[in-house]
Amino acid sequence: MENFALQTEGLGRIYKIHGNRKEKAIRKELVALKDVSLEVKTGELFGLLGPNGAGKTTLIKILTTLLAPTSGRGMVAGYDVAQQPQEVRPRINMVSGGESSGYGLLTVRENLWMFSQFYGVPSKEAYRRIDSYLKEIGLTDRAHTKSSDLSTGLRQKMNIVRGFITDPQVLFLDEPTLGLDVGASRDVRRIIREWLAADAKRTLLLTTHYMAEADELCDRVAIINKGQVLACDTPENLKRRLQKDVLFELATSPLNGLPLSALEKLDGVKKATLRESDGRAEIKFMLKEESALAGVINTLTSANVKIQNLTKHEPTLEDVFVDLVGRSMEDEEHVESD
């Protein structure tokens, strides 16, 4: 029988949204997760990729026993998260990025030691692990600093260490590099890789909306949007879906009112996304064949749009997302927030 660290079967979660006092009677339902079925093997680094509000954090909250599902079933290390949370918790840990949690009156070392005690790690071993991870993440010189005196980024580093020191069977990292600088993000990715490589029984579930991070780290990735899993495979296989397509990126002057739909309607154009900023436009095209590029360039030049740069590139997970959803992840977030 296959050894799964995580399994979900038709997992769903609906939030009931209550109106304010005047709108008391108005109740809306928000479907955060819909019929999610996933299997993550022991030893895998599995990524959940999707825009903000896609349902990634909701899925993690359910799997870490913080939130009850409204339908379906979730299993972690062979235990049902809703029925056996007391069996699940000793085997997991979780870190959320982009927040500054922690007891400000305690030093970094004290904060970490305290959490290790909740997991029953002997003090001596806890301090050994704390010192080792603090060194790896570059926080040794702040070990005796009160966490209230740390910047948000340094607090986040402390919290990332908190996830590793208890040596969980399954570690959940929810956007761990959100808000970290480039160097710190690189350190975190290195620690993740080394931690997994050191023991084949460890499993890591990572959520991110950084495509490159998922591509670099994950053995397999599930692309999730509006609570549904749209695709689940290795990054290579996901990108291979697009290899019959040709991907170009054009940097141009502003489009002078030329609608994007005019480009999307051209023969041979499969999808196009536009990002405009600072008097410059970036258009990404997914073409059925390379010859369709001529039509695109003609249309742009006819509208007095100057082409500043043209790049052909290999498919990325961002392109896979565009292919699946029809919009870039950034555009999808804007649509959701509007």
Binding site: L66, Q86, S101, G102, L105, F118, G120
Partner: protein
């Protein structure tokens, strides 16, 4: 030896609670605050009593009121000490979700967080009683006090207050307001109906049964009796009960409230998971 989840949760939370309680300022200021705050709050009541009774400090009502008020400090300290941790961890430190994810027994964790408030509350109680004896002629003779009654009563009462704190903690888990109104409301009700500063006889007859259903009523009465004996028995409501009978009632009500406390917390804990409120911050 590996500690059990119960012991780990309780002891680590006790350590954390003490760090938070005692480290918010330097030790000298902490000591001054620990002395000044309880004496100042007792002084307000003493001044009011002095004005209303025109200085009748020899009346049995004075030690009744003074000691009732002093021991009532435990109600605020222990009960809200347990429940406040939910708000503190969720809203302020944003750690509640990580504690929930850990193999922690949450009721034991919350009880552990209440221990530091019990310790600081005990210091306040000791200082205020000492001040009462030294400067206000509270008739407490340490050689005549019934310590065999006092300490078991204190212990049972603190457990009872902690269990009431669990009820409030449960309610707090499912609310998003961060003012801790539930704890304040319960503490206020107990202050009126437990005979803390006036005997239950003062209340209209139809309200007295509320006071008689409160374990704090018997607890405060026993604490007064153990320290100042006959003075506490000068008021008729509970005068007909022996110390043993009162202790039996207190114990029975504490067991009942423990059952209610643990099960109420479990219920709200379940509700909080259903509604997704373990990590929800109010942002207002």
């Amino acid at each position: 030896m590996q500690k059990s989840t119960f012991a780990r949760s309780f002891l680590t939370a006790t350590w954390l609670g003490w760090q938070i309680e005692s480290n918010w300022t330097d030790p000298f200021l902490f000591a001054v605050y620990s002395i000044v705050k309880p004496i100042a709050s007792a002084a307000i009541l003493v001044v009011m009593y002095g004005i209303i009774t025109k200085g009748a400090f020899g009346d049995p009502l004075f030690p009744y009121m003074y000691l009732g008020n002093v021991f009532y400090m435990y109600v605020g300290a222990v009960m809200t000490g347990v429940s406040w941790s939910v708000l503190d961890d969720r809203e302020h430190y944003k750690t509640l979700k990580y504690i929930y994810v850990a193999p922690v027994n949450i009721p034991m964790y919350l009880l552990g967080r209440g221990v530091s408030r019990f310790i600081t509350g005990s210091i306040a109680v000791f200082i205020t009683i000492t001040a009462g004896v030294l400067f206000l002629n509270v008739p407490l003779d340490v050689t005549k006090a019934n310590w065999l009654l006092f300490f078991p009563t204190l212990l049972v009462g603190v457990i009872m207050l902690a269990m009431m704190g669990l009820v409030i903690a449960g309610i707090t888990l499912t609310t998003v307001r961060h003012e801790g109104f539930a704890g304040e409301a319960v503490a206020g009700l107990l202050y009126i109906f437990s005979g803390a500063i006036f005997p239950l006889d003062v209340l209209p007859a139809f309200l007295r049964p509320i006071g008689l259903a409160m374990p704090t009523t018997y607890w405060l009465e026993l604490l007064r009796r153990s320290l100042v004996g006959g003075v506490a028995q000068a008021f008729p409501t509970l005068a007909g009960f022996s110390n043993l009978e009162l202790f039996g009632i207190l114990l029975a009500l504490t067991i009942l409230f423990s059952f209610i406390g643990i099960n109420t917390f479990r219920y709200f804990d379940h509700k909080a998971r259903e509604r997704g409120m373990i990590d929800r911050t109010s942002n207002y």
